[in-house]
Symmetry: D2
């Protein structure tokens, strides 16, 4: 236990000794460990701070050029402990639950290690790009009896949650069609694209989850049409502009539109058509100001950056996770199976695109 739990200069915490989660004293906050302190790890650090829980330790691998970056981040967010070693977080007895915010290729092994150490787990999406690996990770959590929540944050967004509520409350009757518009303000670096697993696994996976969330059923068949507008993305073998059709088992048709480049910003809308009407959400803007001149009636752009757009959703997501972890018998709102099904849809979309034909999801399911 060399690197872990160097005490902060601000807080001298007396830590209790190892115990199972069931024994978390009701009178102290749940202690969260964060593995990976990149952009999304830091977002969750802030999210936890708005819940009843506390971030107890944060991990970030050291770099030769920056050996103390875990410490720096810990200090920025007032986190009392830090380490370079993920295993210390995943196994330490003073930590109740872990957030896995490391690169995708580490997710599955870290889920397994955390499960073995009886930690409840929140893991960023996707769990892995291999269905086999995902299945193994899920099985580990089931065997260990720990909770596994997957970071499909958009389910916790006020707009999408209200759309879901409208459906659940029968405000629009039986749903027949769902449209998801999901456009990024600009493409990531080509280096990122190359290791992203492709548009469908990296970006559309959120939309696949949204489709399943709103429709409340599984997909039977997938067809994808795409192009690469950006020549660098094309050269990297990926696409940046796509429409994906999903035929659900219950007959509902869902279509997802993706673009890596919407000049006006982050565009995140859904619309559902039901027998009694429709529900749709528009983008969020930082203000409701309209300026009218002799040229146009205009307003400022929608929120541009996903962290700004979804900050409230990240907080709500973390609140849900903490609530589930502190409530006996509560089940997670987005579980391992949700992670697996969204991946299946991404893989089916990849296959559809490669073979230019509609692909049954069961074709992929059968191969595992």
């Amino acid at each position: 236990m060399s690197s872990l739990l160097r005490q902060s200069h601000k807080l001298a915490l007396r830590l209790s000794s190892a115990r199972s989660m069931a024994s978390v004293a009701a009178d102290r906050p749940l202690r969260v460990g964060i593995v990976g302190a990149g952009r999304i790890g830091q977002v969750h650090a802030q999210g936890v701070q708005r819940t009843s829980a506390v971030v107890h330790c944060i991990q970030l691998p050291a770099r030769a050029s920056e050996p103390d970056r875990a410490e720096k981040i810990a200090k920025t967010y007032g986190i009392p402990n830090w380490t370079n070693d993920a295993s210390e977080v995943l196994s330490h007895p003073e930590i109740d639950v872990v957030l896995i915010c490391s690169p995708t290729d580490k997710h599955a092994e870290q889920i397994i290690e955390a499960a073995e150490n009886k930690k409840h787990i929140f893991c960023e999406k996707p769990v892995d790009l291999s269905l086999e690996v995902v299945n193994k990770a899920i099985k580990a959590t089931e065997d260990a009896g720990v909770k596994l929540m997957i970071g499909f944050n958009r389910r916790f967004d006020a707009n999408f949650a209200r759309v879901k509520q409208a459906i659940d409350r029968d405000e629009i009757g039986k749903v027949n069609m769902v449209r998801i518009t999901s456009r990024d303000p600009g493409p990531p670096p080509v280096s990122y694209i190359k290791s992203s697993g492709g548009l469908f696994c990296d970006m559309t996976i959120h939309d696949f989850d949204m489709a399943r969330f709103l429709v409340g059923d599984e997909v039977d068949e997938v067809y994808a049409m795409a192009q690469s507008v950006n020549p660098d993305i094309a050269a990297a073998g990926d696409i940046d502009t796509a429409v994906i059709l999903l035929k659900f088992r219950n007959g509902v048709i869902c279509y997802i539109e993706n673009s890596r480049e919407a000049a006006y910003g982050y565009d995140q809308r859904v619309e559902a058509l039901g027998s009694k009407g429709s529900v749709a959400c528009d983008n969020k803007h930082s203000n409701q100001v309209v300026i009218s001149t002799n040229e146009s009636v205009r307003r400022d752009l929608p929120l541009h950056f996903f962290l700004e757009r979804y900050m409230d959703a990240y907080v709500a997501e973390m609140e849900a996770f903490i609530r589930v972890c502190t409530t006996e018998g509560a089940s997670v709102p987005v579980g391992g199976n949700d992670g697996r099904e969204a991946l299946l849809l991404a893989l089916a979309a990849n296959k559809s695109l490669a073979e230019n034909r509609p692909v049954k999801v069961d074709e992929l399911r059968a191969s595992f």
Copy 2:
């Protein structure tokens, strides 16, 4: 010339004898003959009245139960002449141009007859459900040197025309994706469905034309996914809910969403995403009034009926037709080829649905 040109009680017109259209005296209004005086024929009668032209005669077949219905309609719209016989309109020397508003199965033969009589022709969509027949009709107009305009009225709608203008003016850069939402407020009678040629030929055909209009290119490949929500429509062998993907030759992806039943009314929107931004249009409402109570912030429904929604477009369309007919060398904004290409897309969508695979438009083109 028994039935034609019974003079109205109001106007004693001295009609000139037969002459070619080129000789239409600049000092008298263009004389329009209307074949078919159903709903759409009457709409065009009103449209012509807002142009510089006049409706000279209207035709409607007599019914045993209502032998004088042509006369009734003529009087309602102040049209001086009426007849039960389409050929009288199509061939009469006092008539300069004809509007063909009869049932679809009459369109082609009436186009051919009008062409032989050297009338410029406006014909409602679709020209015919057979590509071969459409080709023959188009050829007849070409051989006769008369103009043929097809009634894709939506091109003349202020919203869609403004979207097109935004594209043409480079307000959104190079177009990469187009979305068309086209929902009817409710299904037509099943009897109509049965003779309609199916959703794609009857309803989507407008959207296929809109796609070509906005993208400005031809479609390479079509894929359609559909369902029948309404059991009566299913029983009639048709669909009522569909998404159709179009891959244009220039790479643009267009997706069209159709529903026969939107509880809130007629829903007609398009959106285009380009390299510099997007352009989108919302529905038209009869007023801009918002009522806020302790329950909701609400407004009245969008315009419900297509005639109400598109009345201004019908007038603009008719103005365009009259302008073209009275301008030496002017070419129609929507020609026979546009009618043919839209039909090709409908047939490709039918094939895609039947065979559940993407269909190249050239597959169909090749078969003629």
Copy 3:
């Protein structure tokens, strides 16, 4: 009868001889005579053409420089007769009803002449700038038993009519406050300003009528605050920017905001706050298109010109007038008293501004 009823080259009308309006044959259209063929007279000429009535004759004084301008306008609108002499229209037996669209200083005498000739009268606002003269004109119509409708066209606008309907249907409960925003896109020429009677009589008079229309009561007290932003308007002794407060007898507070110059166009909105909520209307736009770029989310300007903005209202107004004139016992929706009360409010606002104090409307009423 020298100049009147030169027959048009198109129509050879056999006119019946003089008769009272009650004898208007149900089987021929009501014949309308228009006095004054300026901008608004021409608007009404078009409005009548969309009703069941016909414009029978239009009058416009000859100018030395343009002796045939009445004829030119008549031909433009297909009106069969024209004259330079208003009296010919006001007295001719073949004309059933008259529209008085002449300059304001002619209105009252022409109303009186038309009334003496037993014509129903539509008169543009304001009837006159003198309350005494207005009273005389109204009395003449009452004595003659003819109908007098005042051209407060905005009551017939789809937005304002819907606001009124929301109030009448109790959608917002008991009304407590009304706001009227009324801004012109730009000031008229100073020459017009000088003879306009001032902002309150020329422009706000519409808003005073709207206030009475929406509140459904009479005003007790008026207070006005104003400034002259435009130095030319200031030099002409008028104001261009004002807020006028109205305290109604029933306690409702209404505030009207006026500006002669809104760079973005014609701005016409009302809002009412009631015990159960609010109703508000936004401006009308020529399309519902939104363009989003990396600079803004924008739409085109609202309808800029009052004729464009209110064309539908003018038509609806004329339909209402024709309906009233052709319906036994029907009373006009906007009568002489409405014209008088709106004028009273304008005069009270003038007095309030001159003396910088709240003015009781009864102060002015008492002085007549």
Copy 4:
């Protein structure tokens, strides 16, 4: 020092001894003391937590029925110290700056006490209902050389700040007219009304500040028109529905509309008309979801509660205060003079209403 600084169970803070604020070590957070822990005091406690400062102590008078309520609130917000005695907060050497969130009648004396103890001060609005008392309090801060910021939180709201920015950036040219709409979702208890100082001092005071903020000048003359819709408020001698006109020295006209009861929620909008256009803001909603059925196109109500509506503004306000307190030579964005001028306008509006005449602000200024 009996009650103050009972150490929390969580933090063992080593507090430095008394020192001037200039000596606040850059390496420790600014320590904030809060006087008054009612609703708004608690809001600011949360606001401070999102800044770099910490709440060091919170004060709330003990009640016989609830002797430990200061402690309870301190624990809720993780504040290490609490007391029942305001003076302990205002004078304690370990506290750098104070937030005065007590009832209005305590504000002035507490400002004076804090100033004597060399604390920078944030005080909720209004400073006092007596101009004389306000002047004394301001003088005390000037004499002591401490900063005094007044809690006009709306200046920090994203919408109003953007409106101000549009004006400052000359996006709408020279401002000529400003409209402020400010409606509460429902009246406070009559008991509150009675001690509130009346609508203008209690509610409109925010709008008076907004008017001065946006126009950037002082008011010359005030006229108010009002009514009491709610009979209980009338019985309490207050009004609940009002329009207040402000004529600024630079000619700008501002009109403020207030209602204590808007059934649909908290309604907070401003609009400014300038020589180049207008800027306006609409209300904030919790989501951007629209539901369309066969009855209406509707969305959820605007944010209903002022804490929800303005939470972000409160945080931004507190950030601004902390920033000013930690920046040598920085001046507060909303100072004592702003508090005084807003009060003057409220008093002028009271006088205008009482005497039903326009009131020059200098009339009131002169009387002190």
